[in-house]
């Protein structure tokens, strides 16, 4: 765990480092999004105050150059969508965010902020006055137009009895004010900047306090070694790695050789140091032991070491497929993009947007990006764990062909036993340095594809959710209209366990949103107990894939009380809710950021279930969890369904282990239910 505090390393000069670049880009996007909403949505202008926080955070953590870069990037995006107003909002957010962030970094208090804001406000006011002085014609136009409006209001007032005096005063005073416009605009500038700075300061302080303990998931370090790039053959001797600030070894002692052209699989339970091994292989210095290479690691360099990581979405950097393949190559290097894409089975994708690709396609694209560097060593770290069945097979066939077609050594880290079989050699990490409770986690076997079944272990109750001819189209009436769902008919009964299975883009998430009442279908109806579910938002609980987005309060007890709708002081209820999902009552006082991924999911469930929902929808409940957490969560859900006759709908691209929880499976393909299951209880 690290605090999001200022990075303590010496001030750097020169081009942005990868981390700085990424943070500048993401915060720029965040600020631009806030600015656009503030400009475009009527009466949301106050939201722009919040845009100062991401910029303030950047100024707090990094050098000024990062903030300026983010301002340019965010400003251009806001300009493209919301025009001049968007651009000016982003610039203002950066101006004030920068001020508050730098004051925060220097450890100063509110007094300093007020003083700095007064100076900054004066400068801003002067800039506005200067601009209006230069733009005389625009100023004249705006002033005349507003004068006309005021004169019109005065004319109306004059007809109201006893208001003549007021009308006269209005016209006269407004004229006077306009005569002194430079003073007016200067004071307005000082006042608004000071006020916004204070609000921004308050918000930044609050958010920073909340962010204490947000884990830094940033792992890779740019390789520092120089000289010719030759990462293999690689020899690890008695390598031990311990993260700074921890008291146990994350890896080792381990000895391992990687020869040129070799395919090595690394398996082991969670916590055995698989990812740590990836870090050591890609150039991190071990705590003890030796790593021998003939030359430099060359992470991401031509002929060096390439890494493909776990999350498909976040390692793709280009907006278009071809751009992503060349991303980061040194200027002047040309490669055959189409040949590389063909090799990973993405022929003809080069002009496609990366936003529309499935997880499997994204991972193969990442492999193509790695191959563009003709790496001597390719490390694949759990690359299939977030990919659906078809995607996995495709990625695996690309990976296993690599060592044949290239002079590349492949180290494939996986927690699937059957994926390790393709390797020349398997290294099993025993995980000596790990905590006891996770030591005996069995490896995950992938489930085979099940046919659509309708068998059920319990008699059907009354229908809870009924979908009649539900269709949905995004962007209806615009040129971007896109059909997501067509003529969906089915019912979910009391105590049912239904799996809605579909690949990326099949419309399954849209269906989940409609069933939760968050989206009104374009046609057809989705009824909960006979009434439209969109009129009863909250009656059907939904647990999103990104559990973190669903946890809004700072502490577990607060969070559960808020989701469930009871008082946070009602300890008994909080404890009961935690117990329902198999969590210790002591967790109640824990901060949200200190929870593991599996615990976050459970806390979300605790809050949702405490509200006694009519049905529970789970969107990809197992994604991103390790084997042990997956099994624990599944067992919990199965128990809940049995014991409490909870109605469960699972949305997933995978079948693994879900058959017990969801005896009934519906296949969704391109927005249509594939085969109508013939249920024993009959469909309504």
């Amino acid at each position: 765990m690290t605090s999001p505090g200022p990075k303590s390393e010496p001030r750097r000069t020169g081009s942005l480092r990868p981390v700085e670049l990424a943070h500048a880009a993401v915060m720029a996007a965040l600020c631009a999004a806030i600015a656009i909403i503030a400009v475009v949505v009527p009466f949301a202008a106050g939201l722009s105050l919040l845009g100062t926080v991401p910029m303030g955070l950047l100024a707090y953590r990094y050098r000024l150059r990062v903030l300026i870069t983010a301002t340019v990037a965010g400003g251009i995006i806001a300009f493209l969508i919301a025009g001049m107003g968007g651009l000016m909002t982003v610039v203002n957010c950066a101006y004030i965010g920068g001020l508050t962030g730098i004051v925060k970094r220097r450890g100063r208090g509110t007094t300093t902020v007020v003083a700095a804001a007064l100076v900054a406000g004066a400068l801003f006011g002067l800039a506005i006055v200067a601009a209006l002085a230069v733009l005389a014609r625009l100023r004249h136009l705006i002033f005349e137009s507003v004068t006309a409006n005021v004169a019109g209001v005065a004319a109306i007032l004059e007809r109201i009895p006893n208001m003549q005096g007021a009308a006269e005063r209005l016209t006269r005073d407004f004229g006077t004010v306009l005569d002194y416009w430079p003073v007016l605009f200067f004071l307005a500038g000082v006042f608004s900047i000071t006020w916004v700075s204070l609000v921004g300061w308050w918000a930044l302080s609050k958010v920073l306090a909340r962010l204490l303990g947000v884990p830094d998931v940033h792992k890779l370090e740019p390789s520092a070694d120089t000289g010719p790039v030759v990462p293999v053959p690689l020899q690890l001797r008695d390598v031990v790695f311990r993260y700074p600030g921890t008291d146990r070894d994350a890896l080792g002692p381990l000895s391992l050789d990687v020869q040129p052209g070799e395919h090595v699989a690394v398996t082991g339970p969670n916590g055995s140091g698989k990812t740590t091994l990836m870090l050591v292989l890609s150039g991190r210095e071990p705590t003890s032991g030796t790593v021998q290479r003939p030359g430099a690691v060359g992470l991401g360099k031509l002929g060096g070491t390439a890494v493909v990581l776990q999350h498909p979405e976040s390692q793709v950097l280009g907006t278009r497929v071809a751009d992503d393949v060349v991303w980061g190559l040194p200027p002047g290097v040309t490669i055959e993009v189409d040949r590389l894409l063909a090799e990973v089975g993405l022929d003809g994708f080069s002009e496609r947007d990366t936003g529309g690709l499935s997880g499997g396609e994204l991972q193969r694209l990442a492999v193509a990006g790695a191959l563009a560097r003709e790496p001597s060593l390719l490390i694949a770290d759990e690359v299939t764990s977030m990919v659906d069945q078809d995607g996995r097979d495709a990625v695996m066939s690309v990976l296993s062909g690599l060592t044949r077609n290239h002079r590349t050594s492949l180290v494939h880290i996986t927690h699937y036993n059957n994926e390790a079989e393709a390797a020349d050699r398997t290294v099993n990490l025993t995980g000596r340095g790990i905590a006891d409770n996770t030591a005996d986690v069995p490896m995950v076997e992938k489930a085979d594809v099940h046919p659509a079944t309708a068998g059920d272990d319990a008699p059907r109750g009354a229908p809870v959710l009924e979908l009649n001819g539900v269709s949905h189209e995004y962007g209806l009436g615009t040129p971007w209209a896109q059909t997501a769902l067509r003529d969906i008919d089915f019912a979910v009964h009391e105590g049912d366990g239904v799996l809605i299975h579909g690949l990326n883009g099949s419309g399954k998430s849209t269906l989940a949103w409609i069933m939760a009442g968050l989206l009104e279908p374009a046609s057809g109806s989705c009824l909960l107990d006979g009434r439209p579910v969109s009129d009863q938002v909250g009656a059907v609980a939904i647990s999103f894939q990104a559990a973190r987005l669903q946890l809004m309060r700072s502490h577990v007890a607060l969070e559960i009380a808020s989701t469930a709708g009871f008082s946070m002081y009602d300890q008994a209820k909080v404890t009961e809710a935690l117990r329902t999902v198999g969590l210790e009552p002591t967790l109640a006082s824990r901060r949200i950021e200190q929870l593991s991924g599996g615990q976050m999911r459970r806390v979300v469930l605790a809050g949702l279930l405490a509200r006694k929902p009519r049905a529970l929808i789970l969107d990809e409940p197992l994604a991103g969890l390790d084997g042990a957490s997956q099994q624990g969560l599944l067992q919990l859900l199965v128990d809940l369904r049995r014991r409490e006759r909870l109605t469960v709908v699972v949305i997933s691209h995978d079948f693994a282990g879900l058959e017990e929880l969801c005896p009934r499976i519906l296949h969704l393909e391109n927005g249509v239910l594939a085969a109508t299951p013939t249920a024993a209880g009959g469909m309504s």
Binding site: V19, A22, A70, L309, R320, G538, E593
Partner: protein
């Protein structure tokens, strides 16, 4: 189901499907044209320049075959505000005065109001035309090319362009996350705690909660993106296709300069409407 017409969804950063001369213009040309026209209109917001730019936009929209469906639904509040503004401005009077029989109507105020409105619409339309016809992937390379002269001043244009490309990549992902955040909030029941007297404080806490969740997710995304950049050995190329103007770009630019130049000349000589003399 319901009688009311549903509001159209706003689609961001996606060009109108299909291709046309306007779609195929270099993104840098479009950005330059927008900048040029923006400067012209802020310095000389007269009827002639506004009309000339409106004409350019209309022709471009026709060439790009922009359908009417791209226009977002305008909320009724905005119409009401516009009508109110027009009414008060019309009552404000001023020269020129139109004589209808025995009644003299001062049109000056109304004309000023209409000019401000037309200016805003034209500026919005200008930006919209760029969004509707440009693939976002082309924007950052164009900025890099356009900004190349600034490198001589030691301005880190390359960093800016890369950050812009990455921000455009992260933007839709963040919007999706906002959507989930908003939905998750809708699912919650009303808070039972918190004193009713201090509604402002509760509202503020809520806002900080939302912001903290959004920033946590953004930080995570940024960390992962940083790893991905490191895995590629740092920033370098970010576009597979070369980004530079072609013949048609010079033609388009010449047309825009000619039209704007003529409008400016007219504004400054015989048809001036933006002068500052009362």
């Amino acid at each position: 189901m319901s009688e009311r017409k549903p509001r159209k969804q706003v689609v961001l950063l996606r060009p109108v499907p299909g291709t046309s001369v306007i779609h195929e213009l270099w993104a840098g040309t479009k950005l330059l044209v927008v900048a040029l026209i923006g400067v012209l209109l802020t310095f000389y917001p007269g009827w002639v320049p506004i009309g000339a730019v409106a004409l350019l936009i209309a022709v471009a929209a026709m060439l790009a075959r922009i359908p009417r469906g791209v226009l977002p639904t305008i909320p009724r509040v905005l119409w009401v505000l516009l009508a109110l503004g027009a009414l008060t401005a019309a009552l404000g009077g001023g020269s020129p005065v139109l004589s209808l029989g025995s009644v003299d109507v001062g049109l000056g105020g109304l004309l000023y109001f209409l000019r401000v409105t037309a200016l805003s619409i034209v500026l919005l339309g200008l930006g919209a035309m760029v969004s509707w016809t440009t693939n976002v992937a082309e924007v950052a390379p164009a900025v890099a090319t356009l900004g190349r002269p600034l490198r001589a001043l030691r301005i880190p244009v390359a960093d800016w362009a890369v950050a812009l490309a990455l921000a455009l990549r992260a933007f839709p992902m963040l919007l999706d996350e906002f959507r989930v955040l908003y939905a998750a909030r809708r699912l919650r029941p009303r808070d039972v705690d918190g004193d009713r007297r201090n509604r402002l404080r509760r509202w503020a806490t809520e806002l900080i909660d939302l912001l903290a969740a959004a920033i946590t997710v953004a930080l995570r995304r940024a960390d992962e993106m940083g790893d991905a950049i490191t895995a590629r050995g740092g920033a370098g190329q970010f576009s597979a296709a070369p980004s530079r103007p072609k013949t048609r770009d010079w033609v388009a630019f010449a047309v825009v300069v000619a039209v704007c130049g003529t409008a400016l000349a007219l504004e400054l000589t015989i048809l001036g409407t933006s002068g500052t003399r009362r």
